[in-house]
Symmetry: C2
Subunit: 334 residues, 2 copies
């Protein structure tokens, strides 16, 4: 075996079969993946969730995770945000010629560990290799399928005036952890990405109450984008309180230094939930019992009027509009 | 609107929403895509097929197609090769900063045209933008879901001695058409890629007979790889006849010139079928009535013994082993 990826590893010929059989199938082994027909075959019934994301994060290894863990969590979380139980994912690599095979092995091992944690299987995949300089190390696409329980109906369109707004924990950890690794931006921090599969946390929340109206994972664009999307889709306004927002010191400091708004920085293991006010305390209590929800907090409420507006009550008692990100201060954060 | 793609188009912020809403949703409009939650929600029952492929073809526009048409056809065909009726696909773009928006519009229009032809819907998607030099113009990933009728059981593991081997038409058109556009390789040809969705053709075949054991679309690695895969999975040998192989003059000439074996060159609108010998003529007759199967032909048969071996009877009456591609003479052909 070569120690770097060659163009021939993406050829559909002998080396391609070798890398698929020896590295991917062996690591990710399961009875649906193994037949290696042009499609995987599954049994399903009822309402299914289907989603996809490509991952181009740079660097591909970062504190708290890597592009493989990210690619599994991102798709698991997108399925979970409509209340689905994630079941299966696809895994497609675009590899730059010359990538060390050892790096690919580490990433495949991380994918296996994360799919085990989330309780899902990789059942189909693809490998393309492009010439040196035509991609940056490694891009991964995953698509996923999940099953939505019959009595669950979660959508960005369902927020109602009076509902409570919950976040599952501290904001901005992923974005700042990845940024801290960038050349020229390197700053010292103990901070790790929060990258995590949230399906277990959501299962605990749904066990506590079915009055969960909207779920979003505030990735690219941060909490600001997620809340603006919900406010627009549901034609409501949302008011949150700066005082209560869980933001780590390190993140607040880095954002100050870099001129970023922590509300616009990406998270990869957090969710925002809009829930019936009456059940909000019970849901937060359930979240506190789950390791990915220990810092969960009610941060605001949904209001009538000004459809699409998100406002923040600052520590000084004033109010400011929380807008979506304009421009792109953090390219390739996921 | 800018006339070139900016990093901010992949930010999850305002420009990202603009490009998604104004360009993608408007062009691909359908009731499952439109809610724009983190996952699309569908109803399903029974056996489903699930597959993915990334497309990195270069150039992104080529005679007979473009990367958009290719990305739809490839996934439609992979679903079809297990006998599934393709239903839904995901669409994920990785765009190099600076791509002309007009090029993206042309590709989205081509995607729309091809999904209409195949009778499927794009129901979820993703857009990432990377810095200039970190990708080559545009990569697309699609994943797809299809429904397998209850009485259909098609797999590379099902070939039996005595079965007939059918190809749906001329070999190597896609690979040579794309190669003809490469800088430095430019040669004059009228040849077009065969890039096409094959679900309609397969529906006609299944209407003629349910004794279809294996289907493959011979893309990367060509017919040689597909037949070697089937011979290995089914533990049989396969013998084909050079005389009968449908290969266009232009392709034969270009292969001669470039030192390529047309059996190892990619196709994107062809299939190879292993079928019960008794039904082979009826299946080929059904294929001749479909516009993507006019040149279909029985090219060989499955034999017992020498499991995994594919042999070609040459025009001279001698026999040669047809091996899988070694190395990669045609990078980024799909």
């Amino acid at each position: 075996m070569e120690d770097r990826i060659l163009l021939a590893h993406g050829s559909g010929g002998k080396l391609a079969h070798e890398i698929v059989n020896r590295r991917f199938i062996q690591a990710l082994d399961n009875p649906i993946l193994n037949p290696l027909d042009d499609s995987a075959v599954i049994q399903a019934e009822g309402r299914l969730a289907f989603t996809t994301d490509s991952y181009v994060v740079q660097p591909i290894f970062f504190p708290g995770g890597d592009i493989g863990r990210l690619a599994v969590c991102g798709t698991v979380n997108d399925l979970s945000m409509v209340g689905a139980k994630p079941l299966y994912i696809s895994l497609a690599f675009i590899i730059e010629e010359g990538l060390p095979v050892a790096d690919l092995d580490k990433i495949v091992a991380s994918i296996k560990e994360t799919t085990d944690e989330a309780g899902i299987q990789v059942i189909t995949g693809d490998t393309k290799v492009v010439e040196r300089g035509s991609a940056d190390q490694l891009f991964i696409n995953t698509a996923g399928i999940g099953a939505i329980p019959p009595d669950v109906c979660i959508s960005g369109h369902n927020a109602r005036p009076g509902d409570a707004v919950i976040v599952s924990g501290s904001l901005g950890d992923h974005g700042i952890a990845v940024l801290s690794q960038r050349q020229g931006l390197g700053f010292s921090t103990e901070l790790k990405s929060d990258c995590a599969p949230l399906n277990g946390l959501i299962a605990s929340m749904l066990a506590a109450s079915r009055q969960i109206r909207c779920l979003r994972d505030p990735t690219r664009g941060g909490l600001a984008s997620s809340l603006n999307e919900i406010a627009e889709q549901s034609a409501v306004s949302i008011r949150i309180e700066e005082d209560i927002l869980p933001i780590h010191q390190d993140v607040a400091g880095a954002c100050e230094m870099l001129g970023l708004d922590p509300l616009q920085v990406a998270n990869e293991g957090k969710l925002v939930a809009i829930v019936a006010a009456a059940d909000a305390e019970a849901i937060v209590a359930a979240m506190h019992n789950h390791h990915y929800g220990r810092e969960a907090a009610i941060i605001g409420r949904v209001e009538a009027g000004h459809p699409g507006r998100v406002a923040l009550k600052t520590r000084l008692g004033t109010s400011r509009i929380v807008d979506m990100l304009v421009g792109e201060p953090l390219p390739r954060i996921c």
